[in-house]
């Protein structure tokens, strides 16, 4: 028995030591690596901005949005990027689903939590998730996998990019999309005050760093808009009015494109739609800003 314990301890100590060394090396890389976004117009948010603003047509802009990104994650990203970057304009998506309490479940949900932690491990600590229910297994799994297994120089999983989708025909998935965005286990998830608070934190952060914040609602297909639960519509418009009263620029362009041929699915544009929408957005900004 004594021999077994001794061998077991040695067997465990070796990898623990190895993991610890990697942890410190990776921490060093995270702290010393500066992300230079090389732009003065930054596009952030979730897949709505990611798939609708094509930066090949938007001079000086960089799209770092990622699919399903809640405001909490956007806030952490911006907090990190503001340290070393001078950003003039920040384009953030503002959409009905952004205030859904479904976003709060992304850190406990089996499918999404791993992906969220994978993006955020380098710019967050466990205490950042205090207000959320989280999937600890996935959290520690991602943490160890990314920080302890081997040294890696780049830890920038939180930086996304424009991701246009080709499609000739719309995949009409409005029922599934509505279900995914506003319902959880067949129940209306309600409004997330955490999301609204983090939107507020982003506004404050932008203000503190002299960034012009522009909230954009990208085009949505009529089959989607018509089926958004009323509590979300009411809260969205109420929030929109209050933001406008606070002098925040809100561009509701949800109905700026309506033809099916520009949609990939019920809530995302395809490549052609993104090209068209980017031009609409630039024109609108030129009109409003200058």
């Amino acid at each position: 028995m004594k021999r077994f314990i001794e061998v077991a301890i040695i067997f465990i100590i070796i990898p623990v030591f190895y993991l610890l060394i990697n942890y410190f090396i990776n921490r060093y890389f995270i702290n010393s690596h500066v992300i230079d976004v090389q732009t003065n117009v930054l596009i952030v948010g979730n897949s709505h901005n990611r798939r609708s603003i094509d930066t090949t047509f938007f001079k000086n802009a960089k799209n770092i949005a990622q699919g399903a990104e809640p405001y909490f994650a956007t806030y952490l990203k911006l907090k990190k990027l503001c340290v070393n970057n001078k950003i003039d304009t920040l384009i953030l998506n503002f959409f009905y689903g952004d205030i859904s309490a479904g976003n709060d479940k992304k850190f406990i949900n089996k499918k999404w939590s791993g992906e969220m932690f994978k993006r955020l491990y380098a710019i967050s600590s466990l205490s950042d998730f205090n207000q959320f229910e989280i999937n600890y297994r996935n959290y520690f799994y991602v943490y160890i996998k990314n920080l302890c297994l081997y040294p890696k120089v780049k830890h920038d999983n939180y930086i996304g990019s424009f991701n246009g989708k080709k499609s000739k025909k719309i995949h009409n998935d409005s029922t599934e999309a509505i279900e995914r965005h506003y319902f959880y286990e067949d129940k209306n998830v309600g409004i997330s005050y955490l999301c609204i608070n983090y939107l507020d934190s982003i506004i404050n952060l932008a203000d503190k760093n002299n960034m012009k914040l522009i909230l954009v609602t990208a085009p949505l297909h009529s089959s989607y808009i018509n089926n958004i639960p009323t509590n979300f519509q009411d809260s969205f418009f109420e929030l929109k009015d209050s933001l406008i009263n606070e002098k925040i620029m809100v561009l509701d362009l949800s109905e700026s494109i309506i033809e099916d041929k520009y949609f990939y699915n019920s809530d995302h544009l395809n490549n052609k739609g993104a090209k068209k929408f980017t031009k609409i957005l630039i024109d609108t900004l030129n009109c409003k800003l200058y």
Binding site: F4, A8, K110, R137, Y141, K145, L149
Partner: protein, 477 residues
């Protein structure tokens, strides 16, 4: 509690330390600890299920004592009937009631009448098919006077609920496992270290092979109309490896864990994908279940020592029952029947026991004949697992029909990473095909450092490539 969960990673060392350090001198206390640990392990899913297992254990305990006192054959038979009725009754209610109700209603529609079947809105208790068979084996063996009934209630309850193999086997016989609870267990260094090796190998099979295969196979099976025939073949192959890695991985972890506590469980998988015919594959696949059906169903029916028609009947019965044990769905019945069809010619021409040794024994690589035999056997398994995986018969037949479509010879989607893992699995298991598990490398003449590097490499693979945590497939059975 899942073997591949953080909870189990905490639970196991605590129980291990208590077992060997705190109460190692008292056998009774050790058994009580194992019983409590098993109930905690099982109750982690749902405490209510514990009442079922306690009730089942209690009935068989009383039946055992009753059988020991009763000498009149009719009354003994009645006692056995009580045990079978209650245990199979539980299975029938929890697992098969809805299936029979729906099938009955479907049968009515054939005659132009439709009836609405009444369904039970109940959850299938985890592992019920496993512990029911385990406890039944006790009553039957006591009835047959192959086993002395126990009066030690703690040992008996611990035997029924022994946590390493409680929810997905191996289905242990009372004749093998129960006596191990009576004897003082001594810590055996070799046994414990090999147990740890087996656990590591089981985790690799489950978390790296099965969980990664699951993502690919689920996508292919759920969207089979979107894929070419060649990709559907890959989907079936990947699922064949998923189910093997999932279930044999569980068995490896179970057997390895039991060895840490000084117990010997029976080998449940003996590298079935290195089989040269279907009969050999069945001797190597889910051994504990197959031998259970052989001893308690097939042989009492007359086995193969009867006339030809009865022999055919017995084979179909055993395979169909075996299929049905896996789940209350026609797909499992067809899966079993197909295996019976493939097995039948072998037994009729008396060639079902020609491959009882290990393939290419003493050789590094098999000869061409053996390769072709293994390939053909694996092909049969792959075709039949389509029924095993399909949601219903229509799904299975559509999947098969889509395989044999015009794009059968088009370039398939080839999951490179998964096939790399599978190759690694096959290479390691090939070199250990004469052993009890894939990582039994203690006899390899290599330096300890090299062995440790291999272990660390496997642990690294588990951490780095461990797919999304999935439940073990066999939990649903």
């Amino acid at each position: 509690m899942l073997f591949n969960s953080i909870e189990f990673a905490i639970f196991l060392p605590i129980i291990f330390i208590l077992y060997w350090f705190v109460i190692s001198k008292n056998l009774k206390f050790q058994n009580v600890l194992l019983l409590l640990a098993s109930y905690l392990f099982y109750g982690w899913w749902n405490w209510w299920f514990l009442f079922l297992i306690i009730f089942s254990s209690f009935i068989d305990y009383l039946v055992g004592i009753g059988l020991s006192k009763q000498k009149i054959p009719k009354k003994r038979k009645f006692l056995l009937f009580i045990s079978i009725f209650i245990n199979i009754g539980f299975l029938g209610v929890f697992k098969y009631f809805n299936f029979f109700a729906e099938s009955f209603a479907d049968a009515f529609t054939l005659f132009g009448k439709s009836i609405e079947p009444s369904r039970l809105n109940i959850i299938l208790p985890v592992g019920i098919s496993f512990y029911t068979f385990q406890t039944l084996s006790y009553s039957i063996d006591v009835y047959r006077k192959k086993l002395e009934p126990t009066k030690d209630i703690i040992s008996f309850f611990a035997f029924v609920s022994f946590f390493p193999q409680l929810v997905a086997g191996p289905i242990e016989r009372a004749t093998n496992l129960l006596p191990q609870f009576y004897k003082k267990r001594k810590f055996d260094y070799e046994k414990a270290t090999d147990g740890v090796r087996q656990i590591i190998w089981g985790l690799f099979k489950k978390m790296v092979i099965a969980d990664n295969c699951a993502v690919f196979a689920n996508d292919i099976f759920n969207n089979y109309t979107d894929y070419s025939g060649s990709t559907l073949i890959f989907g079936a192959i990947v699922f064949a490896f998923q189910i093997y890695a999932d279930f044999s991985g569980y068995s490896d972890i179970a057997i390895g864990t039991a060895r840490l506590f000084g117990f010997n469980l029976k080998q449940n998988f003996a590298f079935p994908y290195f089989s040269r015919d279907v009969a050999e594959a069945w001797r190597r696949w889910h051994i504990s279940l197959v031998t259970w059906f052989r001893d308690y169903v097939y042989i009492p029916l007359g086995g193969s020592r009867v006339g030809i028609w009865k022999k055919i009947r017995n084979i179909f019965i055993i395979y169909i029952v075996c299929g049905f044990w896996h789940g209350a769905n026609w797909t499992f019945i067809v899966w079993g029947a197909l295996h019976a069809l493939f097995f039948l010619p072998l037994i009729l021409i008396k060639k079902n026991r020609i491959n009882t040794n290990i393939v290419a024994q003493g050789k590094l690589i098999p000869n061409l004949k053996e390769i072709l035999q293994m390939g053909l056997t694996f092909f049969i398994i792959t075709i039949t697992v389509i029924f095993f995986r399909a949601n219903n018969l229509t799904h299975a037949f559509d999947y098969l029909a889509n395989i044999f479509s015009v794009d059968l010879f088009s370039l398939p989607i080839f999951p490179k990473k998964i096939f790399l893992f599978i190759t690694f699995l096959l290479v390691i298991e090939w070199f250990n095909r004469d052993k009890k598990h894939g990582l039994q490398i203690n006899s390899w003449q290599i330096h300890r450092i090299v062995k440790w590097c291999l272990y660390y490499f496997i642990i690294f693979l588990i951490f780095y490539f461990g797919g999304e945590q999935q439940e073990f497939i066999y939990f649903q059975f």
